[in-house]
């Protein structure tokens, strides 16, 4: 979000408001306030992908772990892809498992889909040389030629330690077909390097000592335990345990997102001004009190979005705008009730006091229902029988926050100001 520049009349000098990053330590946790709002995919642009995990090949007790592993692999693959803050969720509906992937600001969704959807990325390559002619000179050039052996045939990679030196090693176990292929390849390449590629990148190229026919291999090298673990992770991540299928894809370009922000912001500012005018015309002096509590409301809301790191979406902004309209609810209920009391009571002080407290009960009950609906829409426990749409959640969250905060500003702040104006004793 760009710094807020305001052109004040009479001053002829633009005022720039640009909050710096603030960090507060709360109970050992760092709460960061920086000058960026977290924007949802629909505002900053990006891709939302949902994959269905095909669990038909698994026994019941293995399904959970296979699905969980698939999710982790998908996450690894996106991280591999180097995008900022991808989000990967597992969704469950009856016996139907899905992995939802949010990739913000992703320029090329197709590439990401391909990356995620790969079934095997690990492969073995033979060391070859060829003659390269350039002019009159010729030279030997080394290259790696892919073999048929790839991650599809890998059963498992694990961390082991060398019996003698105690150095970490990576053990590979192939399945039957893989063992046969590995035997053939090693036989052909004794005393030559055999390269292991992951995603077209050379991981390691150990030298083959002898033909290996039992389908087991050990990669020994100069790596630390950490490095070996990373390698094992990559190797095991090479193959998705269960096939996945893309069932939902939503991509929004950043340009569309920016237009959305601009329009929503404009609507918000204009609406806010209209509501303030409305309150001033309707309630005059008390309208000014509503105006103050509404401004406090708006400022605290915007600050809370940052502090709590709430992801703003189009529907979330709509929820916020709606909550501005509702935030003066409490003010209106209190003022109208005060008017009503004044019909019976001559003394303004007493009328304000009793009007305020009598309005409270109705305010509480009326807002409770909105919070109840927000709870259902937000579905905080991720109950699988309730909707889990990101769009709906954004709306429910901002609306709920708005209702709670509206109660605070509309009741608490209004009370304090009214008490002061009419000199009511506390």
């Amino acid at each position: 979000m760009p710094p807020l520049v305001i052109n004040l009349p009479f001053v002829n000098k633009p005022i720039t408001i640009k909050p710096e990053k603030i960090e507060i330590n709360v109970l050992g946790k760092k709460l960061g306030i920086n000058n960026e709002y977290k924007l949802g995919l629909d505002l900053q642009g990006g891709s939302h992908l949902v994959f269905l995990v095909d669990t038909s090949g698994f026994k019941n007790q293995d399904i959970e772990s296979a699905v969980e592993a698939s999710r982790n692999i998908i996450e690894k693959r996106i991280n591999f892809f180097g995008v900022a803050e991808p989000q990967v969720y597992l969704l469950k509906q009856n016996n139907n498992y899905r992995v939802s992937v949010d990739i913000p600001g992703n320029k090329n969704p197709q590439q990401a889909i391909n990356q995620i959807g790969k079934t095997a990325q690990l492969d073995f390559r033979e060391y070859k040389t060829k003659e390269v002619q350039q002019g009159t000179e010729s030279a030997q050039m080394a290259y790696f030629e892919p073999t048929k052996l790839n991650g599809q045939f890998l059963k498992k990679a694990a961390l082991v330690f060398d019996q003698q030196s105690g150095n970490p090693q990576v053990s590979l176990v192939f399945n039957k077909e893989g063992a046969r292929l590995f035997g053939e390849i090693t036989k052909k390449n004794i005393q030559k390097p055999l390269a292991i590629f992951l995603d077209e990148q050379l991981l390691t190229a150990p030298t083959v000592q002898q033909a290996i026919t039992d389908g087991k291999a050990v990669i020994s090298g100069d790596f630390t335990v950490e490095e070996a673990k990373v390698l094992i992770n990559s190797l095991n991540a090479g193959a998705l345990p269960a096939p996945i299928k893309l069932i939902e894809q939503k991509t929004v370009e950043a340009t569309l997102g920016q237009a959305n922000i601009r329009q929503s912001l404009l609507a918000g500012v204009f609406g806010l001004l209209c509501v303030i005018m409305f309150m001033l015309i309707l309630y005059k002096k008390e309208g000014l009190v509503a105006f103050i509590s509404l401004m406090v409301y708006t400022i605290i809301s915007l600050a809370l979005y940052k502090i709590l790191g709430i992801v703003l979406t189009i529907s979330g902004i709509a929820g916020f705008l709606l909550s501005i309209g509702m935030a003066v609810d409490a003010n209106i209920l209190i003022y109208e009730r005060i008017k009503e009391e004044q019909l019976l009571l001559k003394d303004k002080q007493i009328a304000v006091r009793s009007g305020f407290f009598r309005a409270l009960a109705a305010i509480k009950s009326a807002n409770f229902n909105t919070l109840l609906v927000c709870l259902i829409l937000f579905n905080p426990l991720n109950l699988s029988f309730l909707p889990e749409f990101g769009m709906v959640r954004g709306f429910a969250l901002t609306l709920a926050l708005g209702v709670l905060l509206g109660l605070f500003t509309g009741v608490f702040i209004t009370k304090n100001i009214l008490w002061r104006i009419y000199k009511i004793e506390k």
Binding site: T251, E253, L333, V373, I376, F395
Partner: protein, 282 residues
Amino acid sequence: MINFIKYRLWFLAFSLSVIVLGLYFILAHGFVYSIDFIGGGLIEFDASADKSAKAERLMEKDYPGLDFQKTSTGFIIKSTSLDKQRADKVAKNLSQELKIKKTRFELVGASVSSTNVYKIVVAVLLAILGILGYVAFQFKEWRFGVAAISALIHDSLVLVGLWAILGYYWAVELDVLFVTALLTTMSFSVHDTIVIFDKIQEEEQQGSFGRLSERINWALNLTMMRSLNNSLTVVIMLSSLIILGGESTRAFAVSLMIGTITGTYSSPFVATPIYYLLAKKE
């Protein structure tokens, strides 16, 4: 003072006719569902009016059967028959042919959509039960609960019915955000009703009026202004959102607007007469 109770049957008849009209449209024409519910694809392009017109002709020729919709910034192509392969092809063809950029690309499989419908029904029922329980508990009186829920169901039916009519004439979609608006409408609906019922109960406890109809009329007249003003501030915000807020939230804001208006109407004109009908027998 306005005598609301005297005209109660007229109000109920008016509501009933709006609901019947809506139900007729739902049964006769159904809704225009978004791809979230029925599956399919959507591609949005950023294009000048000129290029949009060209694109429309091109689409008619090469891909008949796809929905073409102009927007203020370009156009949208939409169809339940758009799958990944076809959508990719259409998007590629258009962007190459006309040198335009796609800004939105959505595909939803059929399996996603069917579970969505089920979840939404559960959410709506849960909201109704929760609100019914809360109102009955709060007022310690089942009649208030039943009357509030009747108004809530009335508002939901009005909104759903009007949506079918809007869908029939202007192809307005029933999407996930509409369902959100529906649930929000439910909470709005009860909002005003509670303020009125709170007043009626207070009059009952004070015993300032002998007759039920007098009590109710007095309560309605007193709370009329605050209900109206409450809704007006919401209407102001929503109007601003509809006019200035851009296309992505327009339909959502319209549905919330309908919900707010019917929610305000139903409190004095549906919930209260129903409470009167239930309570006068005693």
